[in-house]
C-alpha cells in the first residue's frame, strides 16, 4: 500500500515541479489508508477531506468485519490508519493492543454525538472507537404477502405454514445467533453452554423452514416476492422499502441487538494526527448526515440527525426511532474465548440437514 503511495507522490512531485514550494506549508500532509465497507462513505469524501485538511487518503474496501480483522491481526495493524469495524471487533482490536487511544481534544466534532453514544457498554467515553452508524436488527417483511404481521422472533424461526420456505436469515455468526438468543430469551452475548445448545437447536429447527441464508440480497428477494419475511439490519430493509412501499420493518417484542459500526485508529498508524482529523471530518454535521441520507442507517450524531429532511423519517420509520429507545437494546460485545464456540455452533447449524 505504502509503496504505491510513494510512487504516486513521486510522480506528483515531478509534475507539480515549481508549485511544490507553494505546498511547503502542507509538507507534513499525510496519506491515509482507510478501510471501509463498499459504499459506506460518500464517494467524494476523500476529495472533500483533502480540500478541508490538506491530507490525502486512499479508501480500501472490505466485505466483512472478519475479512479486515484477518488482515489486521496478521499484519499487526500495519498498513492501515483508520478502519471501520462493528463494535465487538473494535473491542477485539483494543484487547489486542492494535487500537490507538482517541485523543478527544483533537476531535472537537465529538461534541456533535448524542450523550448516549459516548456511554456505549463496549467503550464508555469513546476511548478507542468512535461510533459511525448504529441501529437494530429485526424483521423486514412484505405486509401484502403475509397473513399476520410478525411480532416475535418466533414468527421467523417457527413460521406459519403459508410462509415456510419464504424466509431468510443473516449468515454472519453474531446476527444469526442473535435471532435464536433473543427468541429463547437470552442475551445476545450469551455464552453459557447449555443455553447456547438450546439456541443451536432452535436455529437448526428454523433452518428447515428457510429459503436461504442471505446477508446481501435479502431485500431484493422481498421485492421480487421470492421471500416474504427476512431477518434484516434496519438500513438494508430501507433499500427494500425504497422499491416497494408494502415492505415494512418491525423490531420483534423480544428486542434487537444494538449494533454499532465504529471508526478505529490503528496504533501502528504513522499518521495519527491526520487519522484523528479524518474522524473529526466524518463527524462533521454535513458529512455524517450523508451517511444517514444515503446508507439509511441512523447515525449517532445529533446535529446530523437534526439536519435531515423530515420526509426521510416518514418514508423510513427506523430513522425516527428515539435514541433512548435504541440504546435500551443490548450492544453486541466481544465474547472472547467463546467466539470459538460460536463458530462451532454456526458450523453445526450450517452442516445440519
Amino acid at each position: 500500500m505504502k509503496t504505491n503511495n510513494n510512487r504516486t507522490t513521486t510522480a506528483r512531485k515531478i509534475l507539480l515541479g515549481v508549485s511544490l514550494a507553494a505546498l511547503a506549508s502542507t509538507a507534513n500532509a499525510a496519506e491515509l489508508v482507510i478501510s471501509n465497507w463498499d459504499g459506506y462513505m460518500a464517494p467524494d469524501a476523500m476529495d472533500a477531506f483533502k480540500a478541508a485538511t490538506g491530507n490525502t487518503g486512499e479508501v480500501v474496501k472490505h466485505a466483512t468485519n472478519e475479512e479486515i480483522m484477518g488482515k489486521l491481526v496478521a499484519s499487526g495493524g500495519k498498513g492501515y490508519d483508520v478502519v471501520f469495524v462493528s463494535s465487538p471487533f473494535a473491542e477485539v482490536l483494543n484487547k489486542l493492543g492494535l487500537a490507538e487511544t482517541i485523543d478527544a481534544s483533537k476531535v472537537p466534532n465529538l461534541a456533535n454525538l448524542y450523550p448516549e453514544a459516548a456511554a456505549l457498554a463496549y467503550d464508555p467515553g469513546n476511548t478507542f472507537s468512535v461510533p459511525y452508524t448504529w441501529g437494530t436488527t429485526g424483521l423486514c417483511f412484505r405486509s401484502d404477502l403475509v397473513k399476520a404481521e410478525p411480532a416475535s422472533w418466533n414468527d421467523l424461526l417457527k413460521p406459519a405454514d403459508d410462509i415456510k420456505g419464504k424466509t431468510t436469515m443473516l449468515a454472519t455468526d453474531r446476527w444469526l445467533l442473535a435471532a435464536g438468543q433473543l427468541a429463547d430469551g437470552f442475551s445476545v452475548n450469551e455464552v453459557d453452554p447449555a443455553k447456547m445448545e438450546q439456541v443451536k437447536n432452535t436455529l437448526i429447527e428454523a433452518k428447515k423452514t428457510l429459503l436461504a441464508y442471505d446477508d446481501t440480497t435479502f431485500y431484493s428477494k422481498l421485492v421480487s416476492g421470492e421471500a416474504v419475511m427476512v431477518q434484516a439490519w434496519d438500513g438494508w430493509c430501507n433499500y427494500g422499502i425504497t422499491d416497494n412501499k408494502d415492505i415494512k420493518y418491525v423490531i420483534p417484542k423480544e428486542g434487537s441487538d444494538l449494533w454499532v459500526d465504529t471508526m478505529v485508529v490503528m496504533k501502528a498508524s504513522e499518521n495519527k494526527d491526520a487519522a484523528l482529523q479524518f474522524i473529526n471530518f466524518m463527524l462533521d454535521t454535513k458529512n455524517h448526515a450523508w451517511a444517514a441520507e444515503n446508507i439509511l442507517y441512523k447515525v449517532p450524531n445529533k446535529a446530523a440527525m437534526d439536519s435531515l429532511p423530515a420526509e426521510l423519517s416518514t418514508t423510513y420509520p427506523n430513522m425516527a426511532m428515539p435514541v433512548a429507545e435504541l440504546t435500551k437494546f443490548e450492544v453486541l460485545r466481544d465474547v472472547g474465548d467463546s467466539q470459538k464456540e460460536y463458530s462451532r455452533i454456526v458450523s453445526e447449524i450450517k452442516a445440519a440437514q
Binding site: T168, L211, A212
Partner: protein, 287 residues
Amino acid sequence: MNTSRSTFLMAPALAWLIGLMVVPCGLVLALAFFQRGTYGGVDYTFTLENFARVFDPLYAGIFLNSARIAGIAALIAVVIGYSAAYAIASCRRSLQPVLLFFAVLPFWSNYLIRTYAWIVLLNREGLVTQFMRWFGYTGEPPSMLYTEGAVIAGLVYNYLPFVILTCYAPLSRMNPELAEASRDLGGSAFTTFRRIILPLTLPGIAAGAVFVFVLSIGNFVTPALLGGGRFQMIGNLVYDQFLTANDWPFGAALSMALIAIMMLLLLVQAYASDRASTRTAPVREDG
C-alpha cells in the same frame, strides 16, 4: 533428447510449479500444525489438534455429505455426458468437431456468470416459473433454487464438458469392426454395448467421473450461490475457516485432508487407466 536441453525446456514449467504450487501448499501444510490465536492469527505452538478435529463427527459428516453430493453429480454427469459423447461419435465425421465445439462452448464464459444464470432460471419468480405460467400453470411456484437438487444441477452443468470430452476420445477411436464382429456373432445391440463398447471406453468414463467428483467435492461457489448457504460442503467449510472464523490452522488442516482425498482418487484413476490400456492393447493388436 539430451538432458541439458530438456532441463532448459522444463525449467519455466518447473519453476512455476514449485513457486506457485509446491511452496504455497507446503506453507498451508505447515500452518496446519500450529494453534489459532483467540482472535485469529496463528499461535506458533506445535499441535496435532487440527488434524484430530478433521475427524470430529461434525466435520467428518460434512466431508461425507460433500462426497455424497459430488458422487451424485459425477454419476449424473457420466450418464448424460456418455450419452452425448456416444451421440456425437455416431455422427458424420465432419459434424463431430462442430458438436464438440458447442459442448465445450460454456467453458468460455465465466463460472460465476454461468452459475448466476441458474439463479435467474430457478428462483421462485424466475424463467422456469414464468414459462410454466405461460402454459397456464397457476398454482404455487415450486421451490427449485436453494435446494440440494439445484446444487447438483449446477455442478453437473458446469463439469459436464469434461465427461463429454473424456468419453468422446475412446468412443471416436474405437474400431467399428469390433461392434460389427459382435453383431455378426449374434450379439444383440445391448450385449454389444455392454460387452464390447462399454469395457473399451471405461477408462474415459472413469477419467470423466473422477474429474467431476474431484472438482465438485472441493467446490464452494455453487453450494453458496445455488444452495443459499443451507448446504455446506467441505469447500464452504474451508472458506469459512479462512474468511469468517479466522481459524487458519484448522482451515489448512481441512484443505490438506481435501487435497489428500483428491490426490488419492487421481492416483487410483491413473493406475486403473494405465492397467486398462496395457490390458486392452494386445487384444486390439491380435484383432
